[in-house]
């Protein structure tokens, strides 16, 4: 009589760690693959938009981004996706110390990627387009490399300069060379009709570039946070259930590979083509 007639069902959710025999996977793996399917649709929609916008455009700017820097970043990400696999393998080999080493390196590489990316972003916001009232259009840099100026901002600021020192870009191949290249132009503010940096508003190419690469960067940052969590607080779960922790690192790795894969498409589309 002491034994409860109907003991409450154990509230453990099944298959959180071990695989379900007939499907062959644990819950989180299916969950993550479904999440990635949804992510494919998200980035797929943006890449399709890129194609549609580019096909419909009359002139599509090229050569605005540095290929060597982009290539470097590609290798940084490829490196990180190797180390993330190594960290999982370390757990499979029951070596938590080695796991920390590789997971730590993945985080560092991801941070390096973000640093390089922000350097590239900063570069765009200090590159300017100027249209003068006489119709002349120029691109180049302003002396002192100010960040993201615009004409309304310039006019609104209290200590606005009367004129700006402007270094025009070197002419591209095929364009006529001006009489005095590398000359610093002094442009009076009242003669400027339009001033804007090469932000997303500049043209549709930059708009899709900032949107796609920004969304990708957010994914990288999300990955960094999760991986830092595994690196730091991971100890506790590792002690409690090695299998479950290893699974978590595995699905994190799957996610990280997806983030890397998106970049593999982004790099040629934005930098080379």
């Amino acid at each position: 009589m002491l034994a409860a007639a109907t003991p409450p069902l154990d509230m453990e959710i099944p298959y959180t760690a071990e695989a379900r025999p007939d499907t062959g996977v644990y819950n989180a793996k299916i969950g993550l693959w479904l999440f990635l399917a949804s992510e494919v649709m998200l980035f797929g929609a943006l890449f399709s938009s890129y194609i549609l916008l580019r096909v419909g455009s009359t002139d599509w700017p090229q050569g605005l981004l540095s290929v060597p820097i982009g290539a470097l970043n590609t290798f940084v990400l490829i490196g990180s996706s190797i180390t993330v696999v190594m960290s999982w393998l370390a757990l499979k080999g029951n070596d938590f110390g080695k796991f920390r080493l590789y997971m730590g390196s993945t985080v560092l590489l991801a941070l390096l990627f973000i640093s390089i990316k922000s350097f590239e972003y900063h570069d765009k916001f200090t590159h300017y387009f100027v249209k003068l009232k006489d119709g002349t259009e120029l691109t180049g840099h302003i002396e002192g490399k100010p960040f993201n100026w615009s004409l309304p901002k310039l006019k609104a600021s209290a200590n606005a300069p009367g004129e700006i020192a402007f270094h025009p870009d070197a002419p591209k191949r095929g364009e006529p060379v001006p009489d005095s290249p590398h000359e610093t132009l002094r442009l009076p503010v009242e003669q400027i009709a339009k001033l804007e940096s090469f932000g997303p508003w500049r043209n549709t190419y930059l708009a899709i570039y900032f949107t796609l690469s920004g969304l990708h960067a957010l994914h990288v940052i999300g990955g960094i946070l999760v991986m830092l969590y595994h690196w730091g607080a991971g100890h506790q779960l590792w002690r409690k259930s090695r299998e479950q922790f290893t699974n978590r690192v595995e699905v994190t790795g799957l996610y990280w590979h997806f983030v890397e894969l998106v970049w593999i498409f982004l790099f040629p589309v934005m930098y080379i083509l």
Binding site: L2, A3, A4, T6, P7, P8, L9, D10, M11, E12, I13, P14, Y15, R20, T23, V25, Y26, N27, A28, I30, G31, L34, F35, A37, S38, E39, M41, L42, F43, G44, A45, L46, S49, L52, L53, G56, S57, T58, G199, P200, W201, R202, N203, T204, A207, I208, F210, T211, L215
Partner: protein, 602 residues
């Protein structure tokens, strides 16, 4: 000794579970049943609000330019003289109510009710699982939805009011509608949508994983109740169709906040002035991305409803569903083809006749699985000994109502006939027949049917029938005349309900009559609201005072949710269920009872 010890452990476990604080048990709960009820109540409130917006708009349509009685004063006080001078609905307010009626009804009411509340509560129970696969994500899904809803509500009260470019938010209108403000109603709409999309992502991942991984032993794919199949297909639609809208939403947000030109073409003139943007964008792109979500969304609205109706019909005819496998395969086909029909909303955009022909073909194809499902449900009635209780009445009414909605869609699916009908009241009549007397009736049926499982008491049968008869009459009085208005060519977005047409010297007689129908429609709409009063009172009254159910299985049903205690405890089943048979084993010959539950051994 050992037995005593085990019992002790169980007792502690039981004890712990009872010590959950109020907040963890009812507010931030991870129990799929609590999350389901939270979804349900929130969604019903939003549905009421969505109805309220429309009821006010119907005044403006019936009596254009006249102050709204009672509520006009309230609008003036809450939203300010810009929106409702002297209690008269301003054009801006009309536009924003129109946009928000659609947004609230679809994204905050019907989908959360169908794919949030019913799926959360019933799917784990029907497959014999203790909970969802990811209970914490489940909780998060509800709260992210809640935040999204709060943002949408807040947008009514910011300067300029809520979004006013339709629930479709077509660009460039959505971007230039409120150029003077950096953050306008549209910005909040987009932000709210990002939250709602995230919520639906979390929910759909959870539902699919649960169905794949947590089916009880013996619950193989062809033993799943049809409701579970419908929810599985729905979850896949939500998972794959929503992200493109999220992408589009991000791009429109960039257009609104950062001056990009994703959807703004070169040379766009607004208010007589060339818009100072880089241009080169494509308004068509927005429509493609939007409808890529929004057409599968139609099936998100209808599939759970079909699932609910199937369960109720099987139970109340006391026989197997006709063509269970056809139903399953048809719903899969429906889900798949629904990704290939989106541009039939865009015949008049000038996207080209070849593309129109393609989408016209796929649109005709998708009616095949829809007809298979509806036919199977109709044929399921044949030879049954039908019990006409309230849930069954709603489920039965769903069939012809959805039928009307579906059949009136055919002339819209042909690009030639669509030229005349596009953007008229005919379209409004068509999709409301699908969603209002269609899906919402099925949802009412579901509420009446599963109410005893959730509360342990039944809703009042008499008032349920009153609710049904009045709703059926007024729904038809609202939406049937809209077909006439639409066929006469009445445009769907007019603030004055067509009064401007009377300025035309040679106004067609038909159109003049069609405009007059506005008054009748509006009265029917308000009476429909009154017809919901019995439901609301019945619902709350029955929670405490309804007739207590005598057993855990008051409808004598076969599926697993009725084989649990009432209401089901945390963890659902007292013994892990083992499934031995299909979902609808009613009236098996040679048995004492006319139903054989799925977990009953041979």
């Amino acid at each position: 000794m050992q037995t005593a010890a085990t019992a002790g452990i169980h007792e502690t476990a039981h004890h712990d579970h009872h010590e959950l604080s109020f907040v963890r048990k009812y507010i931030f709960s991870t129990d799929h049943k609590v999350v389901g009820v939270q979804y349900g109540i929130t969604a019903l409130l939003f549905m009421f609000l969505g109805y309220g917006l429309m009821a006010l708009m119907r005044w403006q349509l019936a009596y254009p330019g006249k102050p709204i009685p009672v509520f006009g004063d309230l609008l003036l006080r809450v939203l300010g003289p810009d929106m409702a001078t002297g209690g008269i609905m301003s054009p801006d307010l009309y536009n924003s109510f129109g946009a928000m009626h659609g947004t609230i009804m679809i994204f905050l009411a019907v989908v959360p009710l169908a794919a949030g509340a019913f799926a959360n509560y019933l799917v784990p129970l029907q497959i014999g699982a203790p909970d969802m696969a990811f209970p914490k994500l489940n909780m998060m899904s509800y709260w992210v939805y809640f935040v999204g809803g709060a943002i949408m509500l807040a947008s009514f009260f910011i300067p300029g009011g809520a979004a006013k470019s339709g629930w479709t938010s077509y660009s460039p209108l959505a971007t230039v509608a409120d150029l003077a403000r950096q953050v306008d109603g549209q910005t909040l709409w987009l932000l709210g949508m990002v939250f709602l999309i995230t919520s639906s992502l979390l929910g759909s991942v959870n539902i699919i994983t649960t169905i794949i991984q947590l089916r009880a032993p013996g619950m193989n794919w062809m033993r799943l109740p049809f409701f579970v199949w419908a929810q599985l297909v729905t979850a896949f639609l939500l998972l794959l169709a929503f992200p493109p809208l999220e992408a589009a939403g991000i791009m429109q947000l960039m257009d609104n906040l950062f001056g990009t030109s994703f959807f703004l073409p070169t040379g766009l003139v607004v208010g007589g002035q060339m818009l100072d943007v880089s241009g080169g964008g494509s308004p068509l792109l927005w429509q493609h991305l939007f409808w890529f979500l929004a057409h599968p969304e139609v099936y998100v609205l209808i599939l759970p409803a079909m699932g609910i109706v199937a369960e109720i019909i099987a139970n109340n005819t006391r026989k197997q569903l006709f063509g269970y496998k056809s139903l399953v395969y048809a719903s899969m086909a429906l889900g798949f083809i629904s990704f290939l029909v989106w541009a039939h909303h865009m015949y008049l955009t000038g996207m080209g006749t070849k593309i129109s022909t393609f989408f016209q073909t796929t649109t005709m194809m998708i009616s095949i699985p829809s007809v298979i499902i509806l036919t199977s449900l109709f044929l399921s009635l044949w030879g049954g000994s039908i019990r006409f209780n309230t849930p069954m009445l709603f489920a039965l009414a769903f069939l012809p109502m959805f039928g009307i909605g579906g059949l009136t869609g055919l002339p819209l699916g042909f690009s030639a006939t669509d030229i005349h009908l596009h953007d008229t009241y005919y379209v409004i009549g068509h999709f409301h027949y699908v969603v209002a007397p269609g899906t919402i009736f099925a949802l009412f049926a579901g509420v009446y049917y599963w109410f005893p499982k959730i509360t342990g008491r039944t809703m009042n049968e008499f008032w349920g029938k009153v609710h049904f008869v009045l709703s059926l009459i007024f729904m038809n009085l609202i939406f049937m005349p809209m077909f006439i208005q639409g066929l006469e060519g009445m445009h769907r977005r007019m603030y004055d309900g067509g009064a401007a047409y009377s300025a035309a010297p040679d106004l067609a007689h038909g159109l003049a009559t069609a405009i007059k129908l506005n008054v009748g429609i509006s009265h029917a709409a308000w009476l429909l609201g009154l017809a919901q009063v019995p439901f609301i009172i019945n619902f709350f009254w029955s929670i405490r005072n309804g007739r207590k159910v005598e057993s855990d299985n008051p409808w004598q049903a076969t599926t697993l949710e009725w084989q649990t205690p009432t209401p089901p405890p945390h963890g659902n089943f007292t013994r892990p269920p083992v499934v031995h048979r299909g979902p609808y084993e009613y009236s098996l010959p040679g048995r004492a009872k006319d139903f054989t539950p799925q977990n009953e051994p041979d």
